[in-house]
Symmetry: C2
Subunit: 288 residues, 2 copies
């Protein structure tokens, strides 16, 4: 017995991975409001795990760290038009330091567990822009203890945002260097921390599903931007930041675009970190 028809050729919803962190909240809002959420199986995990699961075929599309995308461009394609980064200070990816950057030479820099692109960017800036040779050690993501045993620390996500806002409001505590801000000063370009990547194999088999998910992400982003004030107020109920901070973070610090300037920023990062950038050639884009 059984009368079930094949839905979409018997195919399941694309499995879409996001961080569930604050930086993905606007897209979640947009995916919910537009009901695009009904057409995906949404999975939340850390950036590192999302990348591993995407490469292992356990996800179809995911927000993955830029360094992972550059390293695995033979099996991944970036969706055009949408990424996560900033064109100037981003607030949620910082180096906190008890001394000035030029005094860090020979010191110890703690690296937060999540955020491989932030870690790589911090090393790139310290080594190539400031000529700082440092020891890199594993760090926690707890701002209160991260400088015990280290002269500086790379922080990511809420811990970074917390440190940035605190320093800005009080001028107290350790110095806070915004990594994307330093990159912008150095190169004149935006910085891309994460791209939305699809497995090439999945894009080949299910191009319509990828195109639909891509359209859904773009529409979600646009709606979240249009409703940013309401989103900030709603999110502030549950997150440890006030609506003013969130409105600024979502609306101005974070940049979800991935156009020619962002592509140039990512290519420049690839060049300076000696990653090849084959998947950045226009013919290699997923044809959205």
């Amino acid at each position: 017995m059984g009368i079930r028809r094949d839905a979409d050729g018997g195919q399941r919803r694309p499995r879409l991975g996001h961080t569930g962190f604050l930086d993905c909240v606007p897209l979640f809002w947009g995916l919910a409001r537009t009901t695009a959420l009904l057409d995906v199986e949404l999975v939340a995990d850390t950036p590192d795990h999302l990348a591993q699961r995407l490469l292992a075929g356990d996800l179809d599309i995911a927000a993955v760290p830029a360094v992972t995308y550059l390293r695995h461009s033979e099996s991944l394609l970036a969706l055009p038009g949408i990424a996560a980064g900033s064109d100037g200070p981003m607030m949620s990816s910082v180096l906190v330091s008890s001394v000035g950057l030029d005094e860090l030479h020979g010191g110890a820099v703690a690296l937060a567990p999540a955020g491989p692109t932030s870690r790589r960017l911090a090393r790139l800036l310290l080594e190539q822009r400031y000529g700082v040779v440092a020891r890199y050690v594993s760090g926690s993501s707890d701002p209160a203890s991260v400088l015990r045993g280290a002269d500086a620390a790379v922080l990511f996500g809420n811990a970074a945002l917390d440190a940035a806002v605190y320093r800005e409001r009080t001028s107290a505590g350790p110095r806070v260097y915004d990594l994307a801000g330093l990159w912008r000063d150095w190169t004149g370009l935006p910085f891309v921390f994460a791209v939305w990547a699809v497995r090439r194999e999945f894009a080949g088999c299910r191009p319509d599903a990828v195109a639909a998910a891509h359209r859904g992400l773009l529409a979600a982003r646009d709606l979240a931007r249009a409703e940013n004030s309401e989103l900030a107020v709603r999110t502030a109920r549950w997150e440890p930041f006030d609506a003013t901070t969130l409105e600024r973070y979502f609306g101005r610090a974070l940049d979800y675009s991935f156009g020619p300037r962002q592509v140039a920023g990512l290519a420049e990062f690839a060049r300076r970190t000696e990653h090849g950038a084959p998947a950045l050639a226009s013919g290699e884009w997923f044809p959205g």
Copy 2:
């Protein structure tokens, strides 16, 4: 360092458990469209696991099988106004049988792994209404094989809906008895398969959060009902049923209400299965 303020008294979003099965899709649609989804941490799991996790304090509010709620009313409260059941045939909880019910005496009845309330209701009906003493054996949820080695089988969810629609359209295959339909014929009352339960401890500590989640669920249900045709078309893209079947299932077979008639139906089920029903006293309701 650290400037993070306490959000909602430093409290997190309520953790809300749903099955992720077809019977929860309308609420998911409504929670997304209304953005109430932003104010909960949504977790999908099987009905049995949701109940275990709620009782263990790993969830705060969850759709749990009626039998679990009745068994644990000392630690759980049902949210008023919303449940999952039907006032007549529900389509997704059935007994399939190769013989008539009165011929099942002495036979073997396979029980699907999920759906403890369906299992209990089937036994109750067979024993008390039809005087059938049968052997109950573990069954699969695969309609194609569930009758191998058994004379009848309790099916739940998609497998049940599949069997019901197939039988209706073709008059072929095993007979299909709708459990809620039989209950309605027997008692004149609706049947409640699952309630939305909150841990009493959580309701005591966080009444505002429970009231907000409750309002969110009610609004989600009402919006889903108003947009049932669109919801059915969208869901049919991915589920193995056509839009006509889904529109009927979501809009007419499933009943999300939990008013006096549904409470009476649940109390009657508790009485006939010798569960006490202390949490059904009106003073025991969570004051929504």
